[in-house]
């Protein structure tokens, strides 16, 4: 059992949890993830490690409330326990301090992009961060990004926060204005990563994406998280989650992520009813 040390509501649908997990904290690096089970009968679900402290054994994750399991997770408070919490899993991101990089974060993907931005920044890289949200209520981690970036841009779909537009609009604008990025790192919804890759492909800028397929064990034993990368089958949990974005078959990945859409919709509805009852 893993104790929740701290819970922080970042916006109405995004929550940060700090969990006591010393084995995970000891070796966690940017780009890696954990798998947790909320209760004894819960599903295993993956979350990126947002921060880890080997001294205190604390590991933080940031999650968006999107379905039954994340709703259940969000009912846990400080002092409560999470049944299972395993990691760090996946390969760490490749960090090169000599580069000029653009880190693109979309929505809750910003929580995953932040540790990567931080790692590049701490290694001495020139970091430009572009984060995008639907509207001002959903903005998260603005200060944290600013503290770890040489340049920071905030975008929103409706213009209620930062500039109006998509992250790809800002990226293309910067490239056309003469910014020379050695590498772009895109982390967020598949559709956003796909369009970042289409943009950077035009300018031939190496682009890394952090993939988010469905996972079960997260240790390479089932292949549920398999992807086509450069025409080859890769398991995101052990070969990734970072891949060369120009090689990834995004359409296949988006299709595979809908495998359990019906089940998930049902589970979400069930959780809504159940958790509402508990509140009464």
């Amino acid at each position: 059992m893993y104790k929740i040390l701290k819970k922080e509501v970042l916006n109405p649908t995004v929550t940060k949890l700090v969990v006591e997990a010393p084995f995970v904290a000891k070796h966690a690096k940017a780009g890696q993830f954990i798998i947790l089970r909320v209760n004894e009968d819960s599903e295993r679900i993956p979350f990126t490690i947002e921060d880890a402290n080997p001294e205190t054994g604390a590991v933080s994750i940031i999650f968006q409330i999107v379905g039954g399991m994340t709703m259940l997770l969000n009912t846990k408070e400080e002092g409560d326990y999470i049944h299972d919490f395993v990691g760090p899993l996946g390969k760490p991101s490749e960090i090169d301090g000599n580069k000029k990089v653009a880190i693109i974060g979309g929505g809750v993907g910003c929580a995953i992009a932040l540790p990567t931005a931080k790692a590049f920044h701490n290694a001495g890289a020139d970091v430009t961060s572009i984060t995008g949200f639907r509207n001002k209520d959903l903005v998260i981690l603005e200060e944290e990004f600013k503290a770890n970036s040489d340049a920071f841009y905030l975008m929103s779909d409706d213009g209620t926060a930062g500039e109006k537009g998509l992250v790809t609009n800002k990226l293309e604008e910067l490239i056309q204005a003469g910014e020379k990025f050695d590498e772009v790192v895109a982390i967020g919804p598949l559709i956003m990563m796909k369009f970042v890759c289409l943009t950077t492909k035009k300018y031939d800028i190496p682009t890394v994406v952090s993939m988010n397929p469905i996972m079960v064990d997260g240790t390479g034993m089932c292949g549920c998280c398999r992807l086509s990368v450069g025409g080859q089958m890769k398991f995101a949990c052990v070969d990734g989650p970072d891949f060369d974005g120009h090689q990834v078959d995004f359409d296949e990945a988006m299709s595979r992520n809908k495998t359990y859409a019906d089940f998930e919709a049902h589970a979400r509805e069930k959780a809504c009813n159940l958790l509402k009852k508990e509140v009464e």
Partner: protein, 461 residues
């Protein structure tokens, strides 16, 4: 005078028409009367060849004699001298190619039902006298075991009995390895596996779950920082193989490992499960081993029409005969001498057909089995909304890639000497991590062998 009944005493089973709709155990086990009757078929040979056929050398005629005397607890104690998981082995061992293959009674008639008797004894003990074994006095030596599958659990049990302080590190949230995630409830009830693991904990074995050796910490760190004097790697062969067919990443195509893990470990077949499972209507299972049978029979229980597609013929099916018979009784269709060449999908990315090619058998290959050869121009399509790949597994590369000094062969299996020591001093390995995918009992035999080697190594250090 021995009971010269030519056939094994039949074991009651759930009716096929009923059991194909539930996950309850198929074989129901002997009653006391059946067990005693079967036990009297044993000739109590002076030179018992059955013992040599058992990978952990259970004193078979001795425990059977105790059943004849109705001293079932005495029988259990005899089995316990050499086996840590009798309720498991009595159920899942391929006895026909091990102990029972060597039985003298098998020359003329059917061999003694050794597996069924072992199962009876273990079940009787659990139901009547499930006392915890006494924790042995510590000898102060610490040993780490990587992986809580059959080899790791056996190695841990043997070392704990000798007084070693044993810690098992397990990546999943539950100990048991393939016994928990792979073999279905209807062949091996999970409560029985959990009970046998509790018995090990009673011997002082510590089990740390949610710990991925290679990621959470390395083998080197366990030895250098945490004071483990020896390590046993029993990490199995859990990496599923795919065929690299066009369309293999369509929705509805699963590895057997994924399908079985969702069902067995995550209990996705239960009505209130939180882990989803896909309910196929018509399912093609590719492969002919026990894993293919398990996957097929699970899919059947989810309501599907199931076809086993295997590239050789019935003769070469590697699955246990009993499992094949059970599968046939449950209505599973065997499409033999066929091999998939492509997976076809609909406009939403779901599999809807599997294109196969017909095969014929040529000359025997290096495995001694006749090599399947495709018949040109014989392609045809099977309609299916699900495809499960059960064509084998390989060792996971995580441990070898994070441990310096560990050599592997070209198949990725760990290289060991005659004492099961790897190329790194103090680090031993056994089970599927060394042999590639094999059987539960051979993994247990390796765990036993490694425990003896580790004991000799640490005693002389």
């Amino acid at each position: 005078m021995a009971n010269m009944e030519p056939k094994k005493t039949a074991m009651p089973t759930q009716d096929a028409d009923v059991r194909k709709n539930n996950f309850d155990e198929v074989a129901l086990g002997y009653t006391e009367e059946m067990a005693v009757f079967e036990s009297t078929r044993c000739l109590n040979c002076k030179n018992p060849r059955c013992v040599a056929g058992c990978p952990v050398n259970i004193h078979i005629p001795d425990f059977i004699a105790k059943i004849t005397e109705k001293d079932y607890e005495g029988a259990y104690q005899i089995i316990s001298l050499t086996s840590s998981l009798p309720a498991v082995c009595g159920r899942v061992c391929p006895q026909e190619s091990q102990c029972e293959k060597n039985c003298v009674r098998g020359i003329k008639d059917e061999p003694v039902g050794i597996g069924r008797l072992e199962r009876f004894v273990a079940d009787y003990h659990r139901e009547h006298n499930n006392t915890q074994a006494e924790k042995p006095v510590s000898n102060g030596h610490k040993v780490a075991i990587v992986g809580a599958g059959p080899s790791g659990l056996t190695c841990a049990g043997d070392l704990a009995k000798k007084g070693y302080e044993v810690t098992i590190f397990e990546a999943l949230h539950e100990a048991g390895g393939v016994l928990m995630y792979g073999i279905p409830e209807f062949r091996l009830p999970k409560a029985i596996v959990k009970n046998e693991i509790e018995q090990l904990k009673g011997l002082g074995v510590k089990i740390i779950t949610n710990f991925v050796v290679g990621r959470s910490d390395t083998v080197g760190a366990l030895m250098e920082e945490d004071g483990f004097e020896a390590v046993f790697i029993g990490s199995g062969a859990g990496l599923p193989r795919f065929m690299n067919l066009p369309g293999e990443n369509l929705k509805g195509v699963f590895s057997a490992n994924e399908f079985l893990t969702r069902i067995n470990l995550m209990k996705a077949y239960q009505p209130d499960a939180n882990t989803p499972i896909y309910y196929p209507k018509k399912c093609v299972v590719v492969g002919g081993g026990n894993v293919a049978m398990d996957a097929a029979r699970c899919a059947r229980r989810l309501g599907a029409e199931v076809h086993i597609v295997y590239r050789r013929s019935m003769e070469e099916l590697p699955a246990r005969k009993e499992e094949v018979e059970h599968a046939q009784e449950e209505g599973i269709v065997f499409d033999l001498l066929n091999n998939p060449v492509e997976v076809l999908g609909d406009e939403n990315g779901w599999v809807n057909q599997v294109r196969c090619i017909k095969m014929e058998l040529g000359e025997p290959d290096e495995s001694g089995r006749r090599r399947p050869v495709p018949i040109e121009g014989s392609e045809f399509e099977i309609d299916a909304d699900c495809m499960i790949m059960a064509i084998g597994t390989s060792p996971n590369p995580l441990i070898r890639s994070t441990t310096e000094g560990l050599e592997v062969n070209r198949k990725g299996c760990l290289v060991v000497d005659e004492n099961l020591m790897t190329t790194k001093e103090g680090v031993y390995a056994g089970g599927d991590a060394v042999t590639g995918a094999a059987t539960v009992i051979s993994a247990m035999g390796a765990g036993k062998h490694a425990a003896a080697s580790i004991d000799a190594y640490l005693s002389n250090k």
